[in-house]
């Protein structure tokens, strides 16, 4: 590495060329689970720019006062070089809420270490966050007016000062301003006006260069690039995915962590009235090439969302593409050219439930008599707790025992109707479990001096969420913006994965 360049980069704290983001259009991170002996919910509002300040809300389910601290851990530095933890202090506006903030100084993978200390001892949890620039705030109108006004004052005042400097200021005592000095003043003002124009032009050029540099690192949408195509082979429709060909180059092997035991989680979501959805797990065929045998989804156009977690930084990301599925091959049965992952699931939700009424518990009814009840909740508002609390019952209304599906009691996907928002949810939160394992392994390794295999930290066998019972579960989440959303909720019972769909409208 060129050290001098590195030095300058570090000196001015420039952004590193590492860009990724969890989900699409939904950067905030939500945790719900155990922090040692304490049940707690954590909300991390990730800054839209880097360096930026993350706001962290911790809500321990404890009647007794506790001490809460938060600490940012960067994926590429040693823990022994960590800064001291910051306290999260009780917030005046809500009992039991502890609030703090942390600066995320670099682009890359961070973990927010939340520690709770109280009467029952101490608990720690790692919550991974992606530190990337996701959008740019426009100049508020009042600020633009104020800045233009101040700039005008500076220019006009500056010209007046120059006029006085070139004219009156050098007059000896008791001497009146004569035409010679007036002329000097006017000449100086004219020259300064041109200088001002030149400075403004230079400033504009500089600002544009800064803007271009910022936009180079900005990831407002999905990342990295994704190419998707479908071919029919041996009676199977094969989805062929190439991840990051443009971003990483043709000869790069994308380093991935397994999340719930899978390298990629792919969601296929039907477009234009097609209510089919699939949750698939492709197999790596090359450095950045993955394939999966498609289930019998009907022909049509589909959105493809791919969740991945990088193994070198713990960054998680979602990439997206669109495909057209040909008809299901008829005639001969599939020859099994490509192994089908046993955790692949799919469904066609012919009767999605409109779940905007808040006084009743909307229920999605399955063909086998099961029903998924969305417990009564407050009206859905952007950036407010969505109250995603569900219970699975049989036809008689009796709770049904759930089984882990890839280690979780539930998986869910949220998509804004226009596709601009996508998030993959679990009862433990909406962050990448693989990224959490990455940081837990890093902490364990540096604490003990020996590496803990990531397999041991595999959350496919650990996470069941914080408040779930055998038939009920919560999905901690806040819709990031107003609009129409689709919500798919998956659970497993009697070795059968069920997928329900709710359609909701979120108010501003």
């Amino acid at each position: 590495m060129n050290r001098s360049r590195l030095f300058l980069i570090l000196l001015v704290f420039c952004l590193l060329a590492v860009d990724a983001r969890a989900h699409i259009g939904s950067p905030d991170v939500f945790f719900d689970g155990k922090i040692g002996p304490y049940s707690a919910k954590v909300t991390i509002r990730v800054p839209p720019v880097v360096p930026g300040r993350a706001e962290i809300d911790v809500r321990p389910a404890s009647d007794r006062p506790v001490q809460v601290s938060i600490l940012p851990l960067f994926s590429k530095t040693s823990l022994k070089n960590s800064p001291p933890p910051e306290p999260a202090l009780p917030a005046a506006e809500e009992a039991g809420l502890y609030r703090g903030d942390l600066w995320l100084m670099r682009s890359g993978g961070y973990s927010v270490e939340v520690k709770i200390h109280g009467d029952f001892g101490e608990g720690v949890v790692q919550i991974p966050v992606n530190s990337v620039a996701t959008h740019q705030l426009p100049v508020p109108r009042y600020l633009a007016v104020a800045l233009i006004g101040l700039a005008g004052l500076l220019v006009i005042g500056g010209l007046a000062i120059v006029r006085a400097a070139a004219g009156e200021s050098t007059l000896p005592p008791d001497t009146a301003l004569d035409s010679s000095h007036r002329r000097k003043g006017l000449i100086a003002v004219t020259l300064t006006a041109f200088l001002c124009l030149g400075s403004l032009a230079g400033g504009r050029y500089w600002w544009n260069a800064e803007e271009a540099s910022f936009r180079k690192h900005l990831r407002e949408g999905a990342w990295p690039d994704l190419a998707a195509e479908v071919r029919t082979e041996g009676g199977q429709r094969i989805l062929h995915l190439t991840v990051g060909e443009t971003t990483f180059g043709p000869h790069y092997t994308i380093p991935l962590l397994t999340d719930h035991g899978k390298l990629l989680h792919v969601f296929l979501i039907g477009k234009d009235g097609n209510r089919s959805v699939a949750h698939l797990h492709p197999i790596r065929q090359g450095g950045k090439v993955f394939e999966v045998a498609l289930p019998p989804l009907p022909e049509g156009d589909y959105r493809v969302f791919v969740d991945l977690t990088l193994s070198d930084t713990g960054l998680s990301s979602t990439t997206t593409a669109s495909i057209h599925l040909p008809p299901v091959p008829s005639g001969s049965s599939p020859s099994g050219a490509l192994r089908v992952d046993p955790d692949d699931s799919w469904a066609t939700c012919t009767a999605p439930v409109e779940a905007n009424a808040t006084d009743t518990a909307p229920a999605y009814h399955f063909e086998d008599g099961l029903q998924l009840l969305w417990k009564p909740h407050r009206p859905l508002r952007a950036r407010h707790d969505a109250g995603l609390q569900f219970e699975v019952c049989d036809a008689a209304g009796q709770p049904v025992t759930l089984e882990p599906y890839m280690g979780m009691i539930s998986h869910a996907a949220v998509m804004r109707a226009d596709g601009s928002v996508f998030a993959h949810l679990h009862p433990a939160g909406n962050f990448s479990m693989a990224a959490q394992s990455f940081f837990e392994s890093k902490v364990a390794k540096e604490d003990s001096g020996t590496a803990m295999p990531l397999e041991m930290m595999d959350h496919s066998k650990m996470h069941h969420g914080g408040t779930m019972t055998l038939s009920a579960f919560d999905l901690p989440y806040e819709f990031p913006s107003a609009g129409d959303y689709h919500l798919w909720v998956q659970f497993k019972t009697a070795e059968q994965v069920h997928t329900a769909r709710f359609d909701v409208t979120v108010a501003p």
Binding site: N2, R3, S4, R5, L6, F7, L8, L10, L11, V12, F13, C14, P47, P48, V49, V50, P51, G52, L71, L73, F74, K76, T77, K80, N81, S82, P83, P84, E86, W103, M105, R106, Y110, Q136, L137, A146, L150, A151, L153, L154, G157, A160, I161, A164, A165, A166, E168, S169, T170, L171, P172, P173, D174, T175, G203, W206, W207, E210, E211, F214
Partner: protein, 409 residues
Amino acid sequence: MQTSPVAAASGIATDALEPVPLSAQAQRKRTHVGFWPSVLFALAVTSITVGIIWDISWHISIGRDTFWTPAHMAVYLGGLLGGFTGGWLALRYTFFPGPNARNESVSIFGARAPLGAWVTMWGAVAMLTSAPFDDWWHNAYGLDVRIISPPHTVLGIGMIAISVGALLVGLAHQNRANDRTGNWLFTYIGAIFVTLGSVFSMELTFPNLQHAATFYEACAAVFVLRLVALGVAGRISWPTTRVATISVGIQCLATWILPLFHAQPKLAPIFNPVTHMVPPAFPVLIIVPAVGIDLLLRKTHLTDGPWKRVLLGCILGTVFIATFIPVQWFLAEFLLTPHADNWFFAGNRYWGYQNHIDRIWTHKFFRVAKDMDGYDPLTPRAVGFTWLIASVSSWLGVVWGGWMKKVQR
């Protein structure tokens, strides 16, 4: 009507060095009028300079800050003190004019104040403008934790304007009264003016960059204009040398004092776990070219004609590169040796918490090999370009200094 020899002179007349004859009473009155504003302005620019050096150190030592950090308070205090002192002078000269008010002030949109007071008020408004601009910049592009950024440039221009305004108030007083109090104020404020230039060019003047052409070009642009202008305007002996010496002394104090205070980084990632406030690097030795500039200005009469001033600028540019380049070249070599790793030269102490510390590269020059990014060696062509910058800066300094020497109000 009384006509001053200063006004009669075109360009910079040598007889302008003579004080304007004044009655003892008037002289005492004018000394009184100019003294306290100059002292307040000197305090303002001192507060700004201490604050900005402290703030930069804070950002590379601790990182996490708030609006209310002591370093920020020092900067704001300096800006407010400069702006309000200027405003107070404007109110006083506009609404409560004394018998000599017109001789000590200029008119801007009907209000009257000494020219320097207007410039300090302008600087305070620029600093005020930079605050919301910087705040929005943080939200739009991320925290600009670097010295050279658009909002920081507005802030820097405001700070420098306050120092120039303070200088002008002192100079106008000095030009009118020619008393000794004005001399030390001029020297001190001039040193602050040079120091602020040094602070804002800090990212380009690290010891590791001091064999690259950019360093010499930056120094020619930043220091020569200031030193020559002050050398021409100064009414004391060896003005440039005095100013440069005090400026280097101020920077040395920062280099020596800051590490005495404990500090712990509070932002991640931390690549260099510093345990003390990180100081600026050992200052650039501008004293040597300052001596050369003073010697030349003492011997020459080339300031009294436009083409002579151009010639003088070229000669001063030559003096600068002939004295500055060899001295700084070898000083830089020394600063990168282990012999400079001590409290005096601070060779191993100016790396912030986000710098990867590695002797292999912290003790070598940047941009001097072809395989380095920003390859920028000091070639003969680069020396020529540096000379051009230094000469143009010198010419501007001669013109500006000549004007400052004539400022009366």
